[in-house]
């Protein structure tokens, strides 16, 4: 259990966060939303043990960041937006070193390293020099270093920034695998990603938490009168062109992004109503293989977010 109570952090005379309180349960995936300057980075830095709070308490399983900072940091894994990696080292060598620094023995690492490499889909890059990896793989190494020591809480700052659509799909798989291992706090500007990945959302504005709950809870508490939108993901066997032309014929579909990977096509569909049945029917009738259809997400998160933060760009 992660407990933050009355957290305040000053930079000089300016309070970046003031009186922030929230709790996160074990194995929960929480999204952290806020405009630039809302205090997200400061809160993440305190949670990562990078900076100390000016006032308040931050505890993980009862271990306070002020009383036992090293022990606190043993329970944390942190991936900043720009992954902190030693580019001259090999992936496996680097993760082994990080694991040792974070307190794992050589014997523990022998078992843990292959697990993490598989989880982050890095097994085929173990001997690669980090400096030669693409941005997507560097992000994965960043996640691997954050989870190598089995932390209680993993903090991910903009995990999808700078990734191409294919890499985002891969990153989503990595994040969903992380849920099985630990508690995750994701700070992101991409509301649809937060909506798809997180169990609960914290909205930070002007240094204070202005709302928290599941997307549905936020919708009922702060819902707008604007029409609710629905989004879902469809994976089909067939060409991207044929699949998107099928969706064009469905009136309620308001948007569709397509990612093609060989013979498989992934469609992220946005619609004004839940048209999953209709979409499935069209695909089957067109004799294309329907491989998966995700559950619907009612994405009026953007409207709620803008309402809570008084507008601006997220």
């Amino acid at each position: 259990m992660i407990t933050v109570s009355s957290l305040t952090r000053y930079y000089g005379a300016h309070a970046a966060v003031k009186d922030v309180s929230f709790t996160i349960d074990d194995k929960e995936v929480v999204g952290f939303l806020g405009l630039n300057g809302a205090g997200k980075s400061t809160t993440l830095k305190v949670l990562a043990g990078l900076i100390m709070p000016s006032a308040g308490e931050v505890c993980i399983d009862g271990v306070d960041v002020l009383e036992a900072p090293d022990s606190f940091r043993e329970r944390i894994g942190f991936l900043p937006e720009d992954p902190p990696l030693y580019s001259e080292m090999q992936v496996g060598e680097f993760l082994h070193w990080v694991g040792r620094v974070k307190g794992l023995s050589k014997a523990e690492l022998k078992e843990r390293l292959p697990e993490v490499l598989n989880l982050c889909q890095l097994a085929d890059r173990e001997k690669w020099v980090i400096g030669t990896l693409s941005h997507g793989y560097r992000k994965r190494v960043g996640i691997a270093q954050a989870i190598i020591h089995r932390p209680k809480l993993v903090l991910l700052d903009e995990p999808n920034s700078g990734l191409d659509p294919a890499q985002i799909v891969e990153m989503r798989k990595v994040l969903s695998a992380l849920k099985e291992e630990c508690t995750v706090l994701i700070s992101s500007h991409i509301l649809s990603e937060v909506s798809q990945t997180c169990d609960r959302i914290l909205v930070l504005h002007q240094g204070a938490i202005v709302a928290q709950g599941t997307e549905e809870e936020l919708a009922s508490a702060f819902g707008t009168e604007e029409q609710t939108e629905v989004s879902f993901e469809v994976v089909v066997r067939g060409s991207a062109k044929a699949a998107s032309s099928l969706l064009d014929k469905i009136e309620a579909v308001t948007g569709c992004s397509v990612e093609s990977n060989g013979e498989l096509t992934t469609l992220l569909v946005e619609a004004s109503s839940d048209v999953r049945e209709q979409v499935a029917k069209s695909i089957v009738q067109a004799d294309m293989g329907l491989l998966s259809l995700s559950s619907a997400r009612f994405t009026q998160l953007e409207n709620i977010f803008l309402k809570l933060t008084g507008g601006g760009d997220a």
Binding site: Y11, A48, G49, L50, I51, M52, P69, D70, S71, R73, E74, I76, G77, F78, P80, D82, P84, L85, Y86, E88, M89, W97, V98, R100, V101, K102, G103, Q145
Partner: protein, 241 residues
């Protein structure tokens, strides 16, 4: 201790994984070799002891330069490359971090100092020198190196980038070296104080002649201790800024 060694080992390997380590080593050995050929060996016949004293005198300078060049990257490079976050979010204490970095620099400088031993060995060809003189001189170089590395580590914790770190360290080292000049220009008790603070003159000359004096050893160890403590203090402050 394990974490200190882990930091030190990675840092030591980084000297050889980047061009910087080789550049520093090559530069110092070339400059040292040239000085040995022109200044120490000279043209006319000289006593082996004089040649050795001359060698240790200019080696003081090359050791100081090498120590500043080696340490300028220690912390500043982590900050510039944003890998500082990795260390800051790890369960490493500020003491472990600073000592790990310092030990790696010390190991690298020691390697560099050992690589210069071919020069005193050459004196054996045409002369006769005492092993004690060589051991005394090299002990002095190691101690000077340790002290300047500590100053350089402190400079690296302050500087926003590597050049700034090198500039800060160089200024501190220069001030400490020039203390002998201040000592000669002032009157007691100031002259005594300045002389006792001098990095070169009073403290290094005994080593140059092959003598190991406890006061000089304590001086260099004190400088190392003070600047390492300041570095640790400076590092711990960053979490409260």
């Amino acid at each position: 201790m394990t974490r200190t060694l882990l930091i030190a080992r990675r840092e030591f390997a980084a000297y050889f994984n980047s061009l910087w380590g080789y550049v520093v080593m090559a530069f110092i050995l070339v400059v040292g070799g040239l000085l040995f050929n022109t200044r120490a060996m000279g043209d006319g016949a000289r006593l082996s002891t004089e040649v050795l004293e001359e060698f240790f005198e200019f080696s003081f300078g090359t050791t100081v330069i090498a120590a500043v060049l080696i340490t300028m990257r220690l912390i500043a490079e982590e900050r510039q490359g944003r890998t500082q976050t990795l260390l800051d979010a790890s369960p490493i204490s500020d003491t472990q971090l600073v000592l790990g970095k310092y030990f790696s620099a010390f190991a690298f400088l020691s390697l560099l100092i050992i690589a210069t031993t071919y020069m005193p060995a050459l004196i054996f060809v045409n002369g006769k020198v005492s092993i004690g003189h060589i051991i005394g001189g090299y002990s002095g170089l190691i101690l000077v190196g340790a002290a300047v590395l500590a100053i350089g580590t402190f400079g690296s914790t302050i500087g926003r980038n590597q050049l700034e770190s090198a500039a800060i360290s160089s200024v501190i080292v220069l001030v400490l070296i020039l203390m002998w000049k201040l000592a000669r220009m002032s009157v007691p008790p100031l002259s005594e104080i300045f002389a006792n603070m001098s990095l070169f003159d009073k403290h290094f000359q005994p080593f140059q002649s092959g003598r190991i004096e406890v006061a000089a050893v304590m001086y260099y160890l004190s400088i190392s201790f003070v600047f390492l403590s300041l570095s640790i203090r400076k590092m711990s402050l960053r979490r409260w800024k």
